[in-house]
Amino acid sequence: MESHVLHTAALSKRYGATVALSDVSLGLAEGEVHAILGENGAGKSTLVKIMSGVVQPNSGEMTLAADTYRPQSILQARAQGVATAFQELSLIPNLTVGENLLLPRASKTAFWPESRSGILRRAAGLLSQWDISDITADAIVEDLSLAERQRIEIARALSHATRLLILDEPTAALPDPEWLFRQIKRLSSRGIAVMYISHRLGEVREICQRATVLRNGNSIDTVDLSGVDDDGIFSMMVGRSPDSAFVEPAEVPEDAQVILGVRNLNVGKVRSLDLALRAGEIVGVAALEGQGQQDLFQALGGVIKFESGEISVGGKAAELGSPRRAINAGAGIAFVPEERKTEGIFANLTAASNITLPKIDQAGQAGIVYSGLEKNFAADVVAKVALSPRYLDFKVGNLSGGNQQKVLLARALITGAKCLVLFDPARGVDVGTKQSIYAMMRDHVAAGGTVLFYSSELSELVHLSTRCLVIYDGQVVANVPRAQLTEERLLAAAHGHNQEMKIAV
């Protein structure tokens, strides 16, 4: 039997009536990269929180290097060599990279502050130690892109992990995992265990040796990744055999009605952009990071005002300018934004209230909203996104990420808008939720609607789109029809001139 760095036995955790973990037992060996796999809501986040000292388990045992391990706080976990890079990025936006790396004790001395240069020097040492050369220690975190913040978050965990490193969806915002994999290999060569949580099976196979599958708060099994295929893992995760993830999209006739027409649009980075979405089309958008796709989507959703251009919805000219106007414009445009945590949900309202919000006047009688009416009213769209109705009474903040995304999509659907504008709708959600989202999109266009969606995953674009637009430097540089749609073709088109680029496959 190999020596375990960390071992858990029968861990369980309840939040009120909700059982998040009921029985998780696993062992992490020295120098091993161990994947934790499971659908959203399977208990992965709770397991991470328990191991990193954020919450305490109701029962069960953990041992770390043969000692009982029961961290009461993040600092206690760190003191014992367990450090975590959190999925929800724990950086303070208006502090520098250096200060964030060294928190909570940015200054070595307690009562008198350490000099700015001293802090920067120590932080710069950490950055170079972890091979980060393109971010300086005095950069303010809010000026960094999501991917850069993610690397800082990981670097901080790397420098504290002397026994166990926990990575919770480290590549959700990290387009190029090569840097991360190099650091992971450095750690495991020193005998440090790495717990790797990711939805991306390809990555998991590349970097991990073994995987433990969680389902409904139970650890199902720990398997050698070389001895099991993707379908095998998938059926362990969901407890059934997998449906085919992608269905060939239907052909759309040339003369189908144009639902959303955009002419000569200028907004933010977007320059003179034309666009026509026909009924029955799922139009994908591929782009490198920061090519204006955010501006385009937010302008269509009415979140930002555009400088000039004409937009027609359902054949009628539309003034957007606010999400409400976008929803009410002609056939309607419903927008689902990128950052669901900050831009989308009302964490303290129930799922039913969140969903019915755009049509709140129809969810009540005489101006009073009744929760029963809300639920009835929401039932139809809830079925379309395959959200289990039992979640309707839950506060959205207590739902898993995938279910939160379903709530957001249901809210977009309830507006009755024919045009859905979705920014990376399946980012960071599990395989099961992804399929529900894809099915919802296909059903929507089959019923005469249209969908415009951006995705950071090329495979998603290739399999889901009826055609795919490539945006580069604020302009549509390619309109790739279904027949020519391959990842290589999209990559080539997204690749501009004189751009330094990293490609990860």
Binding site: V54, S73, I74, L75, R78, F86, E88, L89, S90, L91, I92, P93, N94, L95, E99, N100, L103, P104, R105, A106, S107, A110, F111, W112, P113, E114, R116, S133, D134, I135, T136, D138, A139, D143, L144, S145, A147, E148, P175, D176, R200, G202, G268, L288, E289, G290, D295, S456, E457, L458, S459, E487, L491, A494, E500, M501, K502, I503, A504, V505
Partner: protein
């Protein structure tokens, strides 16, 4: 699965960005000195040592109160107990005057201790029992005001000569002591904000969850902020007694709203995480100076409130505008 990224190296920055300047105390300091220029032009006698000293003495209690409130507001909290603590400290000093510099220090220690006690209660109830700050500090405010009325039923009492005359004078006849105290607090803040406690304060105000995941003890940070606030309110009541030479059980009431106004004018965000004590000190000083300027220009005192409010809105709009402009540039 494939995805793509452009790398964009961040170069070391040499000059502070426009946003950093706008978020610092600089705008309010500029407004303050601009107002002095206006004041000097319309009322040349205003630049005499006597009137400068009087103005500083007038402003100091509000400055201290605003400084205290800033500690709580920075971490994203709210503290109404300011009115109660100032009243209580004011009457305690007035019924127990102690002569001489040592007596002055003893008096100060007493009221700071009272402030710390109230702050500890606020902090415990808000940070550890997780009661809403408005409810908790409203309760302590009412308690303190009640206690002040128990100690002194009506305005009266007297303060020591040391406090009434020497604390409100000037060093060597030219440097107002009130001004020295204000500068000392600014220096203190310049150091404090870079300590681990100071950074924690800003981090908790910015993003409580991220701060907790970064290993910051959120509850302790909250608790500490109320302690600092209480100590400053106590000192504010003390300086109010020195300035008025008397005790007033309702003396703290005007400070409740004015201290929030001063903090807002200084540019500290009520949501927490952005701003600082120096900005609030200048916000308070500007508020008091504005009254003088308006009086000097001949604006009826009935309009003072209207003008003050309007200028506050302008100040808040200004910082929102700068933030919006710099954000937009960044997105380009």
């Amino acid at each position: 699965m494939a995805s793509i990224e452009i790398t964009s190296p961040h170069r070391p920055r040499t000059l502070p960005s426009l946003r950093q300047i706008a978020e610092s105390a600089f705008p309010i300091i500029a407004i303050y000195f601009l107002m002095w220029v206006v004041y000097g032009l319309v009322e040349p006698s205003a630049l005499s040592l006597y009137s400068i000293e009087a103005l500083f003495n007038n402003s100091l209690p509000l400055m201290l109160a605003a400084a205290g409130a800033t500690f709580v507001i920075l971490q994203g909290g709210f503290d109404l107990s300011v009115a109660g603590v100032i009243s209580l400290a004011n009457v305690v000093v007035a019924v127990m005057p102690m002569e001489g510099p040592l007596g002055g220090v003893a008096n100060l220690a007493m009221v700071v201790a009272i402030g710390l006690l109230v702050g500890a209660v606020n902090g415990f109830v808000v940070a550890y029992l997780r009661i809403q700050a408005i409810a908790a500090t409203l309760a302590t405010m009412i308690m303190c005001k009640g206690a002040a009325l128990l100690i002194l039923k009506a305005p009266g009492g007297f303060v020591s000569d040391f406090m009434a005359y020497e604390l409100t004078a000037s060093f060597f006849g030219i440097v107002p002591i009130a001004g020295v105290i204000a500068v000392a607090i600014m220096l203190f803040w310049a150091v404090f904000r870079s300590t681990n406690t100071g950074r924690s304060l800003i981090a908790v105000g910015q993003d409580e969850n991220a701060a907790a995941l970064s290993g910051i003890d959120v509850a302790r940070t909250r608790f500490t902020s109320f302690l600092w606030a209480g100590a400053f309110y106590g000192a504010a009541g003390y300086m109010l007694a020195a300035q008025t030479s008397t005790g007033n059980p309702n003396g703290g009431d005007p400070f409740l709203l004015l201290s929030f106004a001063a903090v807002a004018l200084g540019g500290t965000a009520f949501g927490g995480g952005r701003g600082g004590v120096t900005a609030s000190l200048f916000g308070a000083a500007t508020l008091m100076l504005m009254q003088k300027v308006l009086f000097a220009v001949g604006v009826s005192s009935f309009y003072t409130g209207v003008v003050q409010g309007a200028i506050m809105i302008l100040a808040v709009l200004f910082s929102a505008f700068v933030l919006a402009v710099t954000r937009q540039r960044k997105s380009r």
